[in-house]
């Protein structure tokens, strides 16, 4: 019988992430490589580890193989523990029924029994598509101090972007008095970060009621939060001022990678006091040859650079051959850019091959995307905004 925990984290990692196009055909969004060495899920998992939260349930559904293998025993995040750790929670068959996770709230509902094993006082709900460093312990302290039923992490976003977010309107005490999903005329610019702390008995009760409601979408943002607000529960906002980026689209994934190249850097991954941990791949240091040129870029283990790399983020085992140019791009693990090829403003996914003299992407326009394992044939041109996968191309 597991021991009682004050707080258990549940990480929603089951969505397809269809806005990431061909990147998520074979891979769950949280398993997508980021920043040269990481996967998106390293950020919430490392935040949990650094915040002292040692039970993390990861709810998976879409293409979980790579994600499951990546999480493994949880040792990279010190989450391989006797009294807790990381648990991968796919949907499963139950007596009489068994169904897919139909929404974020339903996913938690289907794992009530998992959470109850730990008899927690609080449950932290996280999602697997944001890049940020956050002390959840501080948010939990805020929640306890405010005696709230729910605390929602919010951050100020530019007014013109409010229509993309759930906006929280608060009173002077920081209590949430109104919630607007993607408002056209926002009253405030406090956007929900999709990070919630619930007092567990309150959430439990809500999840059971929500499940009985045939008209509900079983979603936190659409159903659980608005109903609690309507019923007069105390909802409080927790202001977060650090770097936070949703990487749910090709454009924002590329942007967030580029942010790592800025000076001063908006999210410091060198910071020893808040390490972001990742699974180790065991490759030797990278090599820059006499013909190689690298500037304004991140390069990691196992890379071989014989060509020119500018303003780019390269993951492990990437090969850039002589005469190839990589400019303002994100190159994922073990991709190869062959002789004379030019890659600009693009994302090249894992193990893709850009053959000799190709031109991928353009200086202006949308980001170009080459999917996992895709081979772009010698001499081909792939224009701005095009997505190419093993199955073919789409715009």
């Amino acid at each position: 019988m597991p021991r009682k925990k004050k707080c258990v984290a549940m990480l929603l990692a089951g969505g397809q992430g269809s806005r990431l196009g061909v990147l998520t055909h074979q891979t769950a969004k949280p398993a997508i490589p980021f920043g040269g060495k990481y996967r998106i899920i390293d950020f919430p998992l490392s935040n949990c580890a650094n915040s002292g939260i040692d039970v993390v349930g990861v709810l998976t559904q879409w293409q979980p193989l790579e994600l499951n293998a990546y999480i493994g025993s949880g040792s990279p995040w010190d989450l391989d523990l006797s009294s807790g750790g990381v648990y991968v929670l796919p949907p499963y068959m139950k007596a009489g029924a068994g169904e897919w996770y139909s929404g974020t709230a339903n996913a938690i509902y289907q794992n009530l029994a998992f959470i109850e094993q730990f008899n927690p006082d609080y449950v932290l709900i996280l999602s697997g598509d944001h890049i940020y460093k956050m002390d959840y312990a501080d948010m939990l302290a805020h929640h306890i101090q405010k005696e709230a039923a729910v605390t929602i992490a919010v951050r100020q976003v530019p007014w013109e972007e409010c229509s993309r977010f759930g906006i929280m309107n608060t009173d002077t005490q920081g209590n949430i008095i109104e919630f607007e999903e993607k408002p056209a005329n926002p009253k405030s610019n406090n956007a929900s970060m999709g990070v919630y702390v619930f007092t567990w008995p309150k959430l439990r009760e809500r999840l059971i009621a929500d499940e009985r409601d045939p008209n509900s979408n079983n979603d936190f943002g659409k159903n659980i939060i608005p109903t609690m607000l309507d019923d007069g529960e105390r909802l409080t906002a927790y202001n977060f001022n650090g770097y936070w980026k949703d990487v749910g689209t090709i454009e924002s994934l590329w942007d967030a990678n580029m942010d790592l190249l800025q000076t001063p850097v908006p999210i410091d991954l060198h910071d020893r006091s808040w390490r972001i941990y990742a699974r180790n791949i065991g490759m030797p240091p990278h090599y820059i040859s006499p013909t190689g040129e690298v500037s304004g870029s991140l390069v990691t283990e196992g890379c071989l650079i014989h060509g020119s790399v500018r303003g780019s983020v390269l993951s492990a085992g990437v090969v850039v051959e002589e005469g190839a140019q990589v400019i303002d791009s994100v190159i994922m693990p073990s991709a190869r850019i062959a002789k004379g090829a030019k890659v600009i403003r693009s994302i090249i996914a894992e193990e893709a091959v850009i053959e000799a003299d190709c031109e991928v992407g353009e200086e202006t326009g949308d980001i170009t995307l080459i999917g996992n394992g895709t081979v772009v044939k010698a001499g081909d041109k792939v224009p701005a905004g095009q997505q190419v996968s093993r199955e073919g191309s789409e715009v």
Binding site: G35, N280, I288, L304
Partner: protein, 374 residues
């Protein structure tokens, strides 16, 4: 599949010619190739040969080695049934605490030899950098009907006048003679301080050698076996390349050899990773103005200056206007603005202040000890 071999790594005495590099650490803990320590290569050879029980005999200065190995998790040696056994020195009637040679070390750790269950044991010292398939060495040992099989190489780079062990091997592959520290070696086969033997037989050999008052495995025990022909000793040629770390010069040259793709391919195999302790560093950041050529660079560096023919370990910073040529800079070195370095080996956590110039002679690189600020 598990191989019927237990591994034993002797982490070695200090080698005086390595000067300050081994003043604070054993040879096995010597940092090499940007992110490794020597022992990582010994462990990798064993692990990739399916040897999953490995004893590590510690000598003096073993703190950095203990710190490096931790629970053995990075090498998957933290299991219950198998794994890594650290054998630190201790004082007792059987253990002399300070080992004069490998034989002393084996005698003091005879308990580990007795407790192990595997039929064979592979023992290696740690100043050679190599990769050997022990399963092939074992097959050869059995084919030859040998009692003891010694690993050797014909590589000329590891021959030294006045030092080393050299083997005369006949056409059948049997070792006939061993030269110890000859002023000019006569035989072309250099013994790599690694052997394979039936475990029970080794226990027996150690017991007898100790009662005869020997301390040295090769100079006394093997030489006597060869003279008296008590056992059949066979040679197994290491199939890959071999480097030896026995002086600052050979250490420097060995590291620099890995700037060549052919040499890297000789040791690094995508399917057989060399594991090491993790630091969870972010990728290396090349800022605008970085100018790097022919260099091997680990994670966590921040490079704003010029780096040529160099090996940078994890977390090294090269500030604008600085130039680092033909150098090895170990972990967390900081090269301030307008510094000029050539033919230097900076040990860990060395800071070189602004506008400093430091040039070693090409054949005899300068060594800056750990933690110094110059």
């Amino acid at each position: 599949m598990k191989r019927d071999i237990v591994g034993l790594i002797y982490t070695g005495e200090r080698i005086d010619q390595l000067r300050d590099l081994t003043r604070i650490r054993s040879v096995a803990a010597l940092p090499v190739l940007g992110r490794y320590r020597m022992i990582d290569f010994m462990l990798s050879s064993m692990i990739h040969s399916e040897i999953h029980n490995i004893g590590i005999i510690m000598q003096k200065n073993y703190h950095s080695l203990m710190d490096h190995l931790g629970s053995g998790r990075e090498w998957d040696l933290h299991g219950k049934r198998n794994g890594m056994t650290i054998l630190p020195p201790y004082m007792s009637t059987d253990n002399v605490g300070v080992y004069e040679g490998l034989l002393d070390a084996l005698r003091s750790n005879i308990g580990f030899l007795r407790r192990s269950k595997e039929r064979y044991i592979a023992v290696t010292d740690s100043h050679f950098l190599y990769s050997v398939p022990y399963e092939k060495m074992l097959a050869h040992h059995i084919d030859q009907g040998a009692d003891l099989t010694l690993l050797y190489t014909k590589e000329r780079g590891v021959r030294r006048n006045g030092a080393g062990r050299y083997l005369e091997i006949d056409d059948e592959g049997t070792v006939r003679q061993m030269e110890c520290d000859p002023s000019i070696p006569r035989y072309e086969n250099t013994y790599m301080a690694c052997f394979l033997v039936r475990r029970e037989l080794l226990i027996d050999m150690v017991d007898r050698a100790v009662s005869a008052g020997y301390h040295h495995f090769t100079r006394e025990l093997i030489t006597n076996i060869l003279r008296d022909k008590t056992y059949k000793i066979s040679g197994f040629e290491c199939p890959g390349s071999v480097w030896m770390m026995d002086s600052v010069e050979s250490y420097f040259k060995a590291n620099m050899d890995f700037l060549s793709a052919e040499n890297r391919a000789r040791i690094f195999d995508m399917d057989k990773p060399v594991w090491t302790k993790l630091r969870d560093e972010m990728p290396t950041h090349y800022k605008e103005g970085a100018d790097v050529s022919n260099s091997l660079i680990a994670d966590g560096c921040i490079i704003e200056g010029k780096v040529e023919n160099a090996i940078l370990f994890r977390g090294v910073q090269v500030k604008p206007g600085a130039s680092v040529k033909n150098c090895i800079v170990m972990q967390d070195g900081i090269i301030q603005r307008n510094v000029e370095l050539a033919y230097c080996i900076l040990d860990k956590q060395v800071t070189v202040r602004e506008n400093t110039r430091m040039m070693g002679p090409s054949g005899y690189p300068l060594v800056v000890p750990k933690g110094l600020t110059i």
